[in-house]
Symmetry: C2
């Protein structure tokens, strides 16, 4: 990792503060990664206790967001950072919000896991698990890019979102067919649909984290761009 950008502060204490914030973001990210893992396991195994644990832990995620947010604002007030440091703080505030939203999605999956316990005609797990793996990989790699402060993996993360959307459409079609074949199970099938939709949204949030990362490192706002345009802006040899 290239630390040159953050290594020449007049105040050593300031360096420590920024490093501390980065570490907290990674702790929060790790917690939410675990939340997805547990919620998907709760869903596929029907383990209610696991699902309840995810729901309970969501408060922790919320508190982490609020505490990091407050820390960033305090640094803005006391240190009055500029250039890269300012961009880092602004990006962190947005990144932790994405992570918090992902945490909410994990909670949603856990809630559906509880609702669907004991329901026999559940949607085949392997398709849902495959989609979960996809978005977990995207989130993990986005957080890893943040940890290493590099953009080299960003295009390969955001381009995977197309696969996620394709998987989502595919599962949605199958769920609709199921509902047509067995209308008595529509409510249950909708609960499966909410689960799949929550997973799909996690992929979006991983992409948003990448966009904030590009802003942080390159100072360019790349939100709302196409994949092709994003790749041009990031300009990383692939």
């Amino acid at each position: 990792m290239d630390n040159s950008k953050i290594s020449h502060h007049i105040s050593e204490q300031f360096n420590i503060e920024l490093e501390d914030i980065r570490n907290k973001v990674l702790i929060m990210g790790g917690l939410v990664e675990q939340q997805i893992e547990l919620s998907v396991e709760a869903y596929t195994s029907g383990n209610i206790e696991l699902a309840e644990q995810v729901i309970k832990q969501d408060d922790e995620v919320d508190e982490l967001e609020m505490s990091i947010d407050q820390e960033c604002t305090q640094i803005l007030a006391l240190r009055q950072p500029t250039a890269f440091d300012l961009r880092m703080l602004m990006a962190v505030i947005k990144i932790i919000h994405e992570i918090e939203r992902v945490g909410d999605k994990a909670q949603r999956i856990a809630e559906m896991a509880i609702k669907l316990v004991g329901v026999e005609s559940r949607f085949p797990h392997h398709e849902l698990e495959h989609m979960a793996e996809l978005v977990q990989g995207m989130l993990h790699d986005a957080l890893d890019a943040f940890a290493r402060m590099t953009l080299e993996d960003v295009p390969s993360i955001t381009e995977r979102d197309e696969n996620v959307d394709r998987e989502y459409d595919n599962i949605l079609r199958q769920l609709i067919t199921r509902m047509m074949e067995d209308p008595r199970n529509i409510t249950r099938t909708l609960d499966v649909l909410w689960t799949v939709r929550a997973l799909e949204r996690i992929g979006d949030h991983a992409c948003y984290i990448c966009e904030h990362l590009v802003y942080m490192i390159k100072g360019e706002d790349v939100r709302h761009l196409s994949q092709e345009e994003l790749e041009k802006r990031v300009n990383v040899p692939r």
Copy 2:
């Protein structure tokens, strides 16, 4: 409005910059309010041109968010604000993000309007229109509270979200019944469901705007609190 907090800057120019940002937020808010209005009208009247206009205008909303965001960051770098001014800028960055998300919901409703054109067995409009009115009112009042920089209406805005959720549950139940009765129309009915869900989310974003407003004015982070707890913190005589 109590302007005392922002009236004693050393630099008159700084005052003008902050005022300019507040105006731009209100312009962006007004545009998105119009987007909801048009998208709901497109939906109920089946007017494709109107729906296309909403989809096209979403770029404008995105650009406004990015431009206000950049302006806030520039002020942070150049003016190094503290206290209320700093909180205002931080809150604005979050509020415009909520507004942008609402714009996306309007776009979604417009897309569903196009998909559902000519479909006869659409869900009765009056229930959907009633829900739209509810969330439009919440958003309007939240933006108005921002314009007047007062919290007195905040509790009455956030408490309306319960009604929105109740309406949503009510419509969802009716849609499920429809799907059971006429499984061939499940795809269409799901499109109605996405529309209703987009409306429900607009209510949430209006509440989030209120929370950012409380932070801006009182310096307290009231996210993730119950309605009762929020009312205590806001402490406005009702």
